[in-house]
């Protein structure tokens, strides 16, 4: 029953003695007097004490709320000064932060800024290690340590009594210096916890101000990369199936990051010939994407210059020069180029380090046959000059050519078994009857099913070309 217990006891005693007796009246008087004192002095004192605690907490909270909205460290210095002034009666607060150009910025609560604080490095190091508020008295006690002495000198130079190190993730972001002349030395006592909270609040506000600048920089960077991705996609043929000169083509491209290092393209060379090219620059990101742009420019130009006389080995020789120049051997690119002529029933191809594409054909008695188009050559960009050899083989109606990049075979999360050549071949055989578009989609669906939602680690490109039976060869 707390503070009223004595009064109740006195009243009970009065009742026991008889309220009308002299003693009873005296006891009742005592009870009344106690209650009067309690109501007039004790309770208000308790209220005040609690109120003061609430006030400090509310002040710290309001400071954080305002500081979080600040755009600059100077604004935070203003807020810190205001809260220390109003909640603690601190006369002056200075915020010391390292300047980008070296040295220390001293930010005042009146918006002033100066750089004249002298040598502070040693004091900062010591305060950063300590990470707790220190006052003049403590620094005097610790004066045998060089760091503490340096901090004491800093305190003296700033005419302050308390130093609050603002440490964030092991890094000292700054130091707040509080001048409390009325309570010199003793300032940290009892208020230690409040200082700690205020320090934590100032720290997070400053850190967030710095980080916000970076985060905004990131936004513009990712926008730049997004635009680059859009251009890269513009350089690739679109996803729609194509029919040209008795050949149906379907290509699918899935970049893993903002930009990819994969490239595929088809070009109508005229004279009933189609050029098909697939490439894979080392790594993924903007730099390999730039390399694919270089290669694409080369292909675009050469098909204009050479037209139907374009030869796969000659194309790769030229691309090797372009990639070598741009990649400076830091970036390489594998590529496979093929010229398909369905009227002549021939495919001519050359390879620069690209994994061998597959031909799906009908063997004897209509059995599905799967064979690799084997041709070897140096990876593009490894040497200033490289020579490639064009191979040729028959292309019959119904034959399918499957081009793919590493990403398809290697699909799988790190540590787990990749999709692999075996599964890929099995999928091709099971889908052998499907037309080009369905074959490409079906193969990628197999990879997706294998991944079952896990992210893939490398760009995936898959291109299927099918020699159409004569009557279906009309252009679309």
């Amino acid at each position: 029953m707390g503070a009223a217990l004595p009064a109740v006891g006195l009243a009970a005693a009065a009742g026991f003695m008889g309220v009308a007796s002299h003693l009873g009246i005296g006891l009742l008087g005592g009870a009344a007097a106690y209650l009067g004192v309690d109501a007039l002095f004790i309770q208000p004192a308790i209220d005040r004490k609690q109120g003061a605690g609430d006030e400090l907490a509310a002040a710290a909270r309001a400071f954080l709320q305002r500081a979080l909205l600040s755009r600059t460290v100077a604004d935070i210095a203003l807020e810190l000064d205001a809260v220390a002034r109003s909640a603690l009666g601190v006369e002056r607060t200075l915020l010391l932060v390292p300047a980008p150009e070296g040295g220390v910025r001293v930010l005042g609560g009146d918006g002033s800024e100066s750089a004249r604080v002298g040598e502070a490095e040693q004091a900062f190091l010591w305060l950063g290690e300590r990470g707790e508020p220190v006052d003049a008295e403590l620094l005097t006690q610790l004066a045998e340590f060089d760091g503490a002495r340096a901090a004491g000198e800093l305190l003296h130079r700033l005419d302050a009594q308390v130093l609050l190190p603002l440490r964030h993730r092991g890094l000292l972001l700054g130091v707040a210096a509080l001048s409390t002349p009325g309570r010199a030395g003793k300032a940290a006592e009892g208020l230690g916890n409040f200082y700690r909270i205020l320090g934590a609040h100032a720290t997070v506000a400053i850190a967030n101000t710095y980080l916000d600048v970076e985060a905004r920089g990131k936004k513009s960077l990712s926008k730049a990369l997004d635009l680059a991705t859009a251009i890269q996609e513009a350089l690739m043929p679109d996803d729609r199936p194509v029919r040209r000169h008795g050949i149906a083509i379907r290509g699918l491209f899935r970049p893993v990051a903002e930009c990819g290092g994969d490239l595929w393209t088809w070009q109508d060379l005229g004279g009933g010939r189609l050029l098909l090219l697939i490439g894979d620059a080392t790594g993924h990101g903007a730099a390999p994407a730039m390399l694919t742009a270089v290669a694409k420019g080369g292909v675009d130009a050469l098909r204009h210059v050479l037209g139907e006389t374009l030869d796969p080995s000659e194309l790769l020789t030229q691309l090797n020069r372009a990639v070598y120049k741009a990649g400076r051997t830091r970036y390489l690119m594998t590529a496979f180029a093929a010229v398909l002529d369905s009227a002549a029933g021939e495919i001519r191809f050359a390879n620069a380090g690209q994994n061998f594409p597959y031909m799906i054909t009908r063997g004897d008695a209509g059995r599905v046959k799967l064979e690799a188009l084997v041709a070897r050559g140096n990876t593009l960009g490894a040497a200033p000059e490289a020579h490639y050899v064009t191979s040729a083989r028959r292309l019959d109606p119904g034959d399918r050519l499957v081009l793919y990049t590493d990403g398809v075979i290697d699909a799988g999360s790190p540590g787990s078994e990749p999709f692999g050549e075996k599964r890929f071949r099995a999928a091709m055989i099971s889908l052998a009857e499907a037309p080009a578009a369905k074959l490409a989609e079906g193969l990628l669906a197999e990879v997706d099913a294998y991944l079952s939602g896990r992210p893939f680690a490398d760009d995936m490109t898959l291109v299927v070309a099918e020699a159409l039976p004569r009557e279906e060869g009309a252009e679309v």
Partner: protein, 445 residues
């Protein structure tokens, strides 16, 4: 003792006793609150100091939720954080609780919270303040068994929310403590989130750096040279990490020099990609013997033309032949090059221009020709040079370029380049470079 006094005294005793009981109750309750408040404050303070060292966004939210559960005796804590896709939200509880997507119907609540960043007692959502949000908020309450929602809003973005089941309506004091928690948790969560963004920025910066290194490799390695009675310099300064201007020069045999400059519409990496394509095309064309400026631009236009997603650039190709004393050029929507004659103090221009490259599928570009004698010179440049701004946002302009060129034209190409760049720099007076600046100067010597 008279009986007349007994009744007033008895009444006084009763009143005093009632008062005593009232005061005692009040005091007892307040002491209980005060000690809990003290404990709560301490729990919160520890959260602040601790949360600044937590590694992940989810860690901070989990810690804040657990702290709230301890401080307020909440039986349940649910964490809401943005999902992988924009606009989606996931819900989970501290401990090994899997993520669960928040249904579409409740999502508008999170967008609304950014303008209403206060602790919300979900029992009160029928009030007019909540308007259309009544349903989404009530859905959250029913689905996750929570009665209090603590939104975390930083820089006008809802970065997360904490749902609690208190089982009671919070008192005024509890509300202020909840607000305290909200602000602390917001600061800590924003901090981790910004850290993540800043780290991501470093990765992206590295990526852009690598890409711009590839692009710089596409610029001619030799910036000044002389051969076949011609001497030339080129200069290209990118405004950012990645530029969209390019130039190239080819010794195409027979004592001829082919120079091409280009300016891609679009900036940054995207512009660089297009300029890489164009540069690569020029290399291939010149290697294949397409050296006539008009034919080169016609072929370049065909190669760059894309029906669905057009890309545009302007450019000039010029073929110098000192032995025969001629210069041939073709222009695709580019500022006309200056011609500085050895025998005339007035500057001329290489006139005539066709459409921008990539604009019209079958555009044809014709070459023009004029004589070139010893001492004649041609200045090719991109608009970034004449549009260089000073701090007052005044452009450098053609006039100043002409004056700088006229004053320096009798000197050798490197001196002319230096004089022009010096004039631009002096004019700019410290203002930032905000467009790529390119110039190529060729002189018959």
């Amino acid at each position: 003792m008279s009986s007349a006094l007994t009744i007033p005294i008895a009444l006084a005793v009763v009143v005093l006793l009632l008062w005593a009981v009232f005061l005692a109750l009040r005091h007892g309750r307040r002491q209980a609150t005060t000690s809990r408040a003290g404990l709560n404050e301490q729990v919160l303070t520890e959260f602040v100091v601790r949360s600044l060292d937590l590694p992940g966004f989810s860690d901070v939210l989990a810690d804040a939720t657990t702290t709230a559960q301890i401080a307020f005796g909440a039986q349940r804590g649910v964490i809401f954080e943005p999902g992988a896709k924009d606009g989606t939200w996931d819900a989970w509880a501290p401990g090994p609780q899997p993520l669960e997507p928040v249904p579409d119907a409740s999502r508008p609540a999170f967008a609304w919270l950014k303008h209403n960043a206060e602790v919300i007692a979900l029992d009160e959502v029928s009030g007019p303040r909540f308007g259309a949000m009544r349903i989404p908020l009530s859905d959250l309450k029913a689905r996750y068994g929570i009665d209090t929602l603590v939104p975390l809003v930083d820089r006008r973005t809802t970065i997360g929310a904490i749902g609690l089941w208190l089982g009671r309506r919070p008192s005024g004091f509890e509300r202020s403590l909840l607000e305290h928690l909200r602000i602390e948790a917001t600061a800590a969560a924003a901090n981790v989130r910004l850290h993540r963004e800043a780290a991501h920025k470093l990765t992206l910066e590295k990526e852009v750096d690598l890409a711009s290194a590839v692009q710089r490799a596409l610029l001619p390695a030799v910036q000044e040279d002389s051969a076949h009675g011609l001497s030339w310099v080129g200069h290209c300064q990118f405004s950012g990490q990645a530029g969209s201007d390019f130039w190239c020069s080819y010794d195409v045999g027979g004592g001829k020099l082919l120079v091409v400059i280009g300016d891609v519409i679009g900036s940054g990496l995207a512009g660089s990609m297009v300029s890489a394509v164009a540069k690569s095309c020029c290399d291939a064309f010149s290697a294949a013997g397409t050296t006539d400026p008009g034919a080169l631009l016609t072929a370049l236009n065909r190669a760059l033309w894309r029906p669905q997603r057009p890309i545009h650039m302007t450019g000039v190709a010029a073929l110098f032949d000192a032995a025969r004393g001629s210069v041939a050029w073709a222009n695709a929507g580019h500022p006309m090059p200056y011609f500085a004659s050895a025998h005339d103090d007035r500057l001329g221009v290489l006139t005539g221009s066709g459409p921008m490259l990539g604009d019209i599928q079958d555009a044809r570009y014709a070459s023009s020709t004029r004589g070139l004698v010893r001492g004649d010179a041609v200045l090719l440049y991109t608009d970034g040079l004449v549009e260089a701004m000073n701090l007052q946002r005044v452009p450098f302009g053609e006039r100043r370029l002409q004056r700088a060129l006229s004053a320096a034209k009798t000197a050798g190409p490197p001196r002319v380049r230096d004089a022009i760049l010096h004039a631009v720099d002096e004019f700019r007076a410290g203002a930032p470079v905000d467009d790529d600046e390119l110039l190529v100067y060729v002189r018959a010597s």
